[in-house]
Amino acid sequence: MRPYKYVRAQDVDGAVATLAEAPNAAFLAGGTNLVDLMKLEVMTPDMLVDVRRLTSDRVEGLDDGGLRIGAAVPNSVLAADHKIRSRYPALSQALLAGASGQLRNLATTGGNLLQHTRCVYWQDVTTPCNKREPGSGCSAIEGHNKNHAILGASEHCVATHPSDMAVAMAALDAFINVQGPEGERRIPIEELHRLPGDEPQRDTTLQHGELITSVDLPPVEFFSNSKYRKVRERASYAFALVSVAAALDIEDGIVGDVRIALGGVAHKPWRATKAEEALRGEPASEANFRAAADIELEDAQPLRDNAFKVPLARNVITRTLLDLSEEGR
């Protein structure tokens, strides 16, 4: 690991100001991703600003009836929160499907959202990678790409976003509250992560020095009928090949409203808006669920090793919506 400076800021303003003046510094929260990447020398910040104790570590009610999750809330605490479990079960399930108990105790809400891809080439400093070293080329396009993207990738990068939690938050219309050198802003989660395009080195739309302070969940009643399903190569402790978070509002057998987001398929949590649109107002049937999934996956561009993700995603979407339509009756 390269030498670096460790500092604990006094408050959020101090942390933001410190980073603004240090172009190679990074925020440190649970460290479960950043410290790992520093050991591999994939990331080499010269200063770590510890923010774990600066932002809220609580889940609180909002005036509009929604919930605010502090950026420092540990993944284990968020998963166990009774308000989350009853009103946004997909989020609790997604958290419990990720990592291990030891890691969930350390990992935070902010750090989980901003965790970096698990692409093996990005993690291996001896191989070319446009995300690590812009212009050096993408080793995954012609390499081992079973775990890579089938939607929204570019000729420069086919990496996927690894977070389970973020997929659930994408389905549940979360907002991300951020404080930066230029003040505060509130970003729909859809606009937090980005597709690689020709700047794969940028994972998100955040500017250097912008700190996530909390995440808001809106008060939507049918989100209590939501679910997270993750398919991986063993029953536990593995990243998703494909995952889906969905919420379904159903009345007299007709889909009133629906949210679907996919994990493991793209550079960001993939909100399946085309499938959602196709389903609103239609009978909640297996045939319709499958047809909607097909519409979403029409543009899928599988790589050599991951064509299986297309039928897998279709089946997982269909199965999850079927479960929700039975439970939501």
Binding site: Y6, G31, D50, R52, G101, L103, L106
Partner: protein, 153 residues
């Protein structure tokens, strides 16, 4: 920098370099070799300890982050020469081969049983998913945890 910690009930102070992990501090500065360093990447759980009451991978915690915290390692579970029932059960069941994974597994099993005194096999498997063993094939570890569940007060 100077680091102050409560380790296994004792207050300890030691000089550390920025960037050392808590695991390094425990092993190399404080001479507590129970917690093991295998992957040092959060994958194997052999470095599992309690940090302020929570089970964590000590290899991913930076020394600076642990300042002022309370740490309990596998050495802190026994009372003098008297082993904790979880440790007894691992010996009894023959759940130890090379032993590298054992301290981490014992702390993780201890954590599980403190939250859930009668776990099902599925619950044990899920709770220990972050602890890898390359020798035993896990069967005897599962047996040990069930035995410990029966004998832990």
């Amino acid at each position: 920098m100077k680091l102050r910690l409560m380790v296994n009930g004792e207050s300890r102070e030691t000089e550390v370099r920025e960037g050392e992990s808590l695991l390094y501090v425990l092993r190399e500065r404080l001479g507590l070799f129970g917690s093991k360093n295998a992957c040092e990447q959060g994958e194997c759980g052999s470095c599992s300890v309690y940090l302020d009451g929570e089970l964590v991978c000590a290899c991913l915690v930076l020394a600076g982050q642990a300042e002022g915290s309370e740490v309990v390692t596998v050495e802190g579970l026994s009372e003098g020469e008297r082993l904790h029932p979880v440790q007894e059960a691992f010996l009894e069941a023959g759940a130890v081969q090379c032993g590298f994974c054992t301290p981490g597994l014992i702390v993780a099993a201890h954590d599980l049983l403190s939250r859930n005194s009668e776990p099902t096999e599925a619950e044990v498997r899920e709770a220990l998913a972050g602890n890898l063993c390359r020798c035993t094939g896990y069967e005897k570890i599962l047996t040990a945890v069930q035995m410990a569940a029966e004998t832990t007060p």
